[in-house]
Symmetry: C2
Subunit: 366 residues, 2 copies
Amino acid sequence: MSTERDHRIPSPTISEVAAAAGVGRATVARTLGGYGSVSAKTRDRILAVAKELGYRPNSIARSMTTGETRTLGVVLADVGNPFFAGVLRGISDAARKADYDVLVLSTDEDLQLEAAAIEVLVDKQVDGIALAPAAGRSASLPHLDIVAKREIPLVLLDRLVDTVDADAVVINNRESSRQAVMSLIEKGHTRIAFVWGPVTNEPAAGADDLRRILDHALWSDGERLLGYLEALELAGIPFDTSLVTHVLKNESQATRAVLGMLSLSDPPTAIFATETDALTGSLRALRQRGLRCPEDVSLIGFDDSSWASVMTPPMSVVAQPMHQLGELTAECLLARVAGSEAPVATHVLEADLIERDSVAPPPTRP
Amino acid sequence: MSTERDHRIPSPTISEVAAAAGVGRATVARTLGGYGSVSAKTRDRILAVAKELGYRPNSIARSMTTGETRTLGVVLADVGNPFFAGVLRGISDAARKADYDVLVLSTDEDLQLEAAAIEVLVDKQVDGIALAPAAGRSASLPHLDIVAKREIPLVLLDRLVDTVDADAVVINNRESSRQAVMSLIEKGHTRIAFVWGPVTNEPAAGADDLRRILDHALWSDGERLLGYLEALELAGIPFDTSLVTHVLKNESQATRAVLGMLSLSDPPTAIFATETDALTGSLRALRQRGLRCPEDVSLIGFDDSSWASVMTPPMSVVAQPMHQLGELTAECLLARVAGSEAPVATHVLEADLIERDSVAPPPTRP
């Protein structure tokens, strides 16, 4: 208890030490900061006075001396999104354990905001940066040049970018997506909608065209779609471009897109929704059409939450290990900050398909 | 574009400027930092060289000179919780608009972690602190003494503490809770469960005893319960201590507590669940008993999410303005950082009761 109390006594300022020692503020700053030249006699007097007054260097003064801020910068799409909130919690927990703090910035998937965020973090001299890039997997990211030049450790999080040579922590999006779609196929579905596909003005003409479009999509989104395509191919089910959405990612767009699909002459009997808003948007479309899940349309979502399992019916989902993703990201980053020269690595965590009651065989055609 | 590119050229270090100007590093630091004495001739040479090399002071050097870090510290219960994630997003947006950044720490409602978080933020010399205190409303918070002594602006967020003299931004918990419970009473309910009440070893003997216990509870939790008590009183419904939970806040505890209530000889016909986990925990209890919502038991939750409205039935909830709560908190804090000497104020935002289909009249007794 008493040490805790002691810590709460404010440290005297440099000016207070200077006044007590009868020297100038700059001399105290040089002495306590350990830079510049001060006579041995003066330094001894200053150190004695500083000790007597209970001086503790603040973190800024320490940073001037050590070049360390003990702060990690985190750049995410949206800190208010439950997925990224869970990831951030994981990063924070691991950082705190190592006595590091976290500066967090949201990009809203906008590359200009991402560039501005990186500039802020470089200016704040964070010791390392964790970034969920807003760029497509084949993009070049000139705003990361300064990070490389300054040799600031960088870890990519949730998404890969081919042009960036850095450690990364992601989940096995393609495999978990393929597994989810396979589980629908095993129940007898052949008309399976995919929400969300990449945003394009013109829907892809076919699977190959779609693969080309994916080069410009977020890696994670692309992988989920590739998993879908692989599952169809494995089962010999022809790809139908009208069953993949090309709309902006928001819930009402998902609802509209799914309503459109349900109006097709050969509508989907199952939907694979690759984010929470895609799932709730799809559910809203089913409700508007008076369709039941799973009797009329089966559903699998992405990301688990306490809601998913209390739905009627409880929703099957691909559950990402959000906290672990954040934790491992921070651990990789801290290892680099500590000087690790291990080869650059991509760590792939596994997502789990949690099967509940939102999947049934397709309805028999009249 | 070209200015953007320019910004990416790394600023030379103080050592590089020193080498080019043929002077010592400390002299450059004094000149560029604007402290200590340097001859006019030397200063001019250093400034000319610094300009030629494109020197831009980094934020740490600026902080040494100005005493500002342009950073706000945010201390929340859990950054991974959807409510606090939404609040943090609001804080971040307002901070970014003002060119401030955000250091965020979670307390898990633990006062020792809160004290440690405050110490970290003081040490990092943040310009202001937003705090969702983990303490009961009547607690004294000695770890905030140093914040007051250093005159670091502080804004309480989501919860009030009587002993802390600071601006606060909260929602009208008591009124919105009373309104929710009144809406249940108007449908004919008199047996209304309250999840979550305060954690106690011994259930309250009566309403007065409960009010005493509330002095040690989080302000927001206490207000929600007081709103419940007020609604009962207004309607002349006797308070029954067995309809208020006293368990730790986690979903499985909520489920257990509700299962216990449903086994009473006079079980609740409605549940008011004051957080998301309380609601999903209650739904799980109903499902385990094979009870339908709203035919057997009506439900009102707290906090809206895209899930709530796609449930079967869609859930009635008290929706808190999370983003606005965060935004206003940051705005108040930034006004204090800018030197506002306005009287200390508590800002109360309104939560809305969103009525959906999870409330019906109580079932008629056999």
